[in-house]
Symmetry: D2
Subunit: 290 residues, 4 copies
């Protein structure tokens, strides 16, 4: 991996920047977002997840589950006549069944995370000190565009999505992209598959395209392909080098349908993960508002 050839934002916004391409969301991008809102119809871009019971407390044999689970749950005992019912959730954020935002601390390259901080200085046993999900704390509101690579269908498993494929999808969307916009890339896939199964994904030309268009956030129901090509275009180049936050494992089916119905492929995107600091990423329920 030759750093000089790969696109990078290391140093672009200083040596200790934690916002990355979120800095591209300026007043003009916000105004474009506002202009997309007509009747406030909205749709969720998140996968639904059912927690796995961490305990029933009783009985010999429970249900088969695929472990590690994304979310586990313990319902709490609050007394014999409880005033309230509560539960405790255990969250493995980066599980592939969960729609989540990756913070830049999630992904080192050459033992450094964006924008060049040694991983040992960024991530400690007691939490992330640089490049954490803090960057998402205020929420993210910007214009989003759906790039549907295969309307009504799904990509072949061995597809490597290139810049030209993104161009074609953008043309189908009948709109343009400006710096600070987000993209939602639909391949028609559930990529939560066994590791030895091939899944389509973006290639490096596509990530260069994201960079050239000033994309602020990437959402996708596809991400990096398997078998992997290194460096991983999205995780090791877009996230790690461009500081471009990724929403992994989005579910874009309902969005695609609403785009079809409404005849437009752009919207206001709202990302509002829980305001938890010091994490490597956070669950998110992306909302597209029309």
């Amino acid at each position: 991996m030759t750093g000089t050839e790969l696109p990078t934002n290391w140093g672009r916004w200083g040596d200790d920047d934690q916002l990355g391409t979120l800095r591209l969301i300026d007043a003009a991008a916000k105004e474009r977002a506002a202009a997309e809102v007509r009747d406030a119809r909205h749709v969720s871009l998140a996968r639904r997840v059912r927690p796995v019971p961490l305990t029933t407390g009783l009985g010999p044999v429970g249900s088969p589950a695929v472990m590690p689970a994304g979310v586990l749950q313990i319902v709490n005992f609050n007394g014999v006549k409880p005033v309230a019912m509560t539960d405790t959730l255990v969250v493995n954020t980066h599980n592939a069944a969960l729609t989540h935002l990756d913070a830049v601390a999630h992904m080192p390259v050459d033992e450094h995370v964006y924008p060049g901080v040694p991983v040992h200085a960024a991530v400690t046993p007691t939490g992330v000190t640089h490049g954490s999900a803090d960057a998402f704390g205020e929420g993210i509101v910007t214009r989003g565009v759906l790039l549907d690579l295969v309307p009504g269908g799904s990509l072949p498993a061995d597809m490597r999505v290139a810049d030209t494929d993104l161009d074609a999808a953008l043309e189908r969307a009948g709109t343009t992209l400006s710096a600070g916009d987000a993209v939602a890339v639909r391949g028609g896939w559930d990529t939560n598959q066994p590791l030895d199964q091939p899944v389509p994904g973006l290639d490096l030309s596509a990530v260069r395209w994201l960079n050239e268009h000033g994309v602020s956030v990437y959402l996708g129901d596809i991400g990096d392909a398997r078998p992997a090509q290194l460096p991983l275009p999205l995780h090791q180049v877009a996230l790690a080098r461009l500081g471009l936050p990724l929403v992994d494992a989005a579910d874009l089916e309902a969005l695609a349908q609403l785009c079809e119905v409404s005849g437009r492929w752009s919207f206001m995107l709202v990302l509002a993960p829980p305001r938890i600091t010091g994490a490597t990423g956070l669950l998110v329920n992306p909302i597209a508002v029309f």
Copy 2:
């Protein structure tokens, strides 16, 4: 507690309804929400929470913390030269330091939850089967209004907020409420205080006011007062009887400032908790978009 005297929506939308007052958010409410969006400036209404390390793995004595913590964190070992850094979060949703949405299953009255389902049928050791946070899965987008009870200040600890106080705040906001709108009620308080400390809160007349105005969602930096008056106006009447979802422990300081700056106290409210099913509530980062 005589059910006939308290406002109730039990039965209003059927015997197994799980949406409650979210049903009031109709197309007209959505259009009002859309009309609030001008330049997409936004603000988070969530408290920031720093996880407590669940383990450092080493050393004899750690840091003092107030337990139970809202969120605990374990940073995961991913190998000696990790491809990625990850962590596991443990979330006690209803902790008073966390901004969260209460599902109706959270709060039984007379051993039933909204709209009259026995709590033993609604909440099981393996999760919530009726009245869970599933209701929030699509996200909530509606018009919101800030009712600032004490602009620039904070309520006295023994204040019981009445319907007339809400009227006055609404008049100060210079707007009106229609059925399906949400309210954000600011008392200028951090109510995450020891249980024996008094905190202000809404009284029953205020909850009747919410009902009469068709409020769909309540957010507040104040909630039910302490010492408690029973039934708890918000948790045992609004949530349990009206099926009116509550956002507990909001932080409304930044919102109040933005309202002052922008000269309006209404906005589009977006609630997008993680799309986790079967829970008694969920963390949320409410976003107000202007």
Copy 3:
């Protein structure tokens, strides 16, 4: 269930006793235990349990597991060049795959636990205040006898073990029992089966036999039968009414072999669960010393 007909120790050692039949282990019982030790050969009576990974942190799909698991594990990140490797274990003590000691607070009858304490006074959301595993903190050392109900084989699934079966096994063991001794009852079963599968177990006459012989602790690879007969002889009579601690889900195969080899069916039994207070039970690795 008529309390007068069932054997009970409620009140025998006071109204707030927490030791139950452990009080039967007197100096004479200890001396009998000591007399069993010849060459200190020993054997474990515990099932081996492999933790289920709570997270790998990476990858889309893990391994199938039966959930809830008995023990889950997270390996901790301790820095890039760790001084030490550590892990966090999550333990669901009463899982049927785990050899564990039941404390009396585990099992209420008529909403009371041994010796008649209301369950709401014994178990609180923050731990057990009466009848907890504290009783086991000092460790338990007494004489043990293996009652092998079916040497070299396994009981039929519909077997209900009666007092006469225990008599026969004791006679085969060629020894006698005195008050304070423990018994290890072998049925040749792995009872960690789906709940709808029948498993053999003790009937009420067998529990009366335990009571009449002054048994201090019960270990078994069988326990209460399925389909259940109520009251559950071991859990609702022996544990709940006699205050007789149970070791559930023991593995007695190695013990049975060592007994055959050594030609004696009695030994010193050592039970030494972690010294954790306030729990409803604890994992234990029972050791038989010869």
Copy 4:
């Protein structure tokens, strides 16, 4: 750190040995252990630990606790009229408040664990594959000797315990050590102190002494001193190079008293941690039987 000068057992029992000095517990050692048992009086050598509630589920502010805690607890909801009460425990084994056994995988030197296995091959994100607590699964039964360095008192904080100190304590004990015996070393300390507080500990000559006497297991209320001298004599030499399992954070006060009363300082030691595989260590309740 020059390996040639430090005592080592790497290679002594093969390149993939996992038992280390437990191999020294031969039939003769067992017979010595048996000979110590007279009346089966016993004492626990474990610290008592009260779990920290992981959640109460309710209320704004809990109790102050020092985090990370050794053991956390969630009491489980098992239904409105529960058949049984259960709880889930979360265990940070190596917490300094917990009496626990260190497996050799716990402690790498030069990125290798005993007996020379690369740490990345021994410890994986899904558990320990070499040098785990599996070695303790059968339980450990051997002769133990109390080496009381300061009868009735406590060592000065800056004390570095040398071979001659162990000689003196052994002489006071009025007995000798043979290969395979365990030692319990009492300094009269609670070493669960803030990291910047000095605590006494063994020096390298003491570890050489352990090696020369063929000690199979080390228990102590003291361990490695603070400020640390490198290599840590017990953790980086005894455990990592000799494969000598350590019981950290023992409580030896009751043992010392029983030794005084009974007039002898030797006993049968039983170590029986839960039979959990793949862990870096396990809680243990060591029992001394007289």
